[in-house]
Symmetry: C2
Subunit: 215 residues, 2 copies
């Protein structure tokens, strides 16, 4: 799977992954009161070649104006539509240890319409705790709560040993998008998407690149 279909255009996966970053950048510019920007300026802000930016945008038509640049408000409108962030995506957090609690407390950017609406844990000591306005529920209630609230995404902070178990419950509740903070690969049906956040690997990679390429 190397291209994805967005609003009837096939775009490279590499481009798709950059779209959220573009949206945020334009939102930031808008907040600063900037209403027009060139690809070379964007390039400096995002630390990414201007030609990559122009090429990425070109998949969706002629979004800029030659000799002028891009209209910030217009780009926000276009990207919001492409990314379908108009309606709020509801998120469940599974595992309410330190990391789970931190995620709930921090929340996510309101602009991008992501909202944590419920949280779960197995541990009786934690169930019933109130974290950032959310009462932690027992994992046994996952399926019913999640359906009631219309949750479409789950974030699991459950430790590796129990990650598969947690993911099985999530999948059973018909959730197909999972962000997993445990790095070991879990088995899921083909229609379920798991994204891994692996801090140890990120650190080791960073250190490796830092040590081996001095510049």
């Amino acid at each position: 799977m190397t291209e994805i279909n967005l609003k009837d255009v096939n775009i490279p996966k590499a481009t798709a992954k950059r779209l959220p970053l573009y949206l945020r950048t334009f939102l930031n510019l808008d907040m600063e009161g900037i209403d027009r920007i060139r690809s070379t300026q964007l390039s400096q802000i995002m630390q990414q070649p201007p030609i990559t930016i122009r090429k990425d945008f070109s998949y969706f038509g002629s979004l800029g104006r030659k000799g002028y640049g891009y209209d910030v408000q217009y780009m926000i409108k276009v990207l919001e539509e492409i990314l379908d962030v108009r309606e709020t995506k509801k998120i469940a957090v599974v595992g309410c240890g330190n990391l789970g609690k931190a995620l709930i407390n921090n929340g996510f950017r309101r602009n991008e319409n992501l909202e944590i609406v419920c949280a779960f844990d197995n541990n009786a000591d934690v169930v019933g705790d109130k974290v950032g306005g959310i009462v932690v529920a027992d994992m046994k209630r996952f399926k019913s709560v999640v359906r009631d609230k219309g949750v479409s995404v789950a974030i699991s902070t459950v430790p590796s040993q129990f990650a598969q178990e947690a993911v099985d419950v999530i999948v059973d509740a018909d959730i197909t998008a999972i962000l997993n903070f445990a790095p070991d690969r879990v088995r899921v049906p083909k229609n379920v998407h798991v994204q891994y956040i692996d801090l140890t690997t990120e650190l080791l990679t960073l250190i490796l690149l830092d040590e081996k390429l001095g510049s």
Copy 2:
């Protein structure tokens, strides 16, 4: 920069990024008492094609045995040497809000020899707090503490608005490897490496892929 030089071999960056994952996988296998594994079995565990695995390993010589597979203990030894995890890397956490505290409490895999040894914050309310055995120090003391302790990596959980400021202090203390949880790009000298962890973008990308490609 597309290749990096490791133990006098040039290897693709894509391969380098997978090395930490290989190491962890072999460590897991070792803990389960498995002492030999084939690329096809590794492939299932890591959910990655066997040929990619064999190709990656081949950059470092003939590590496996034809008709047999790979020796787990031997691969651990080789990867530990390549990744230079024999000696502990000391880490400073900058910003001790929810996320910073969660990282300190969770710690990192002992196996991979990463250790958080100090933590800093600007906020007088937080300075002096004890988190997971570490006393939070004032950011003003960053340079001297970090030098005393021999820290070589910093993790910043400082919010976007203050991220540049924090990174400037980190860079001034001669640290060249920074893991940054604020997604906006910061300016650093060419010899400094910044890795970004952007949870909002990860979530939006996940949702995008999930919605647009049903399978």
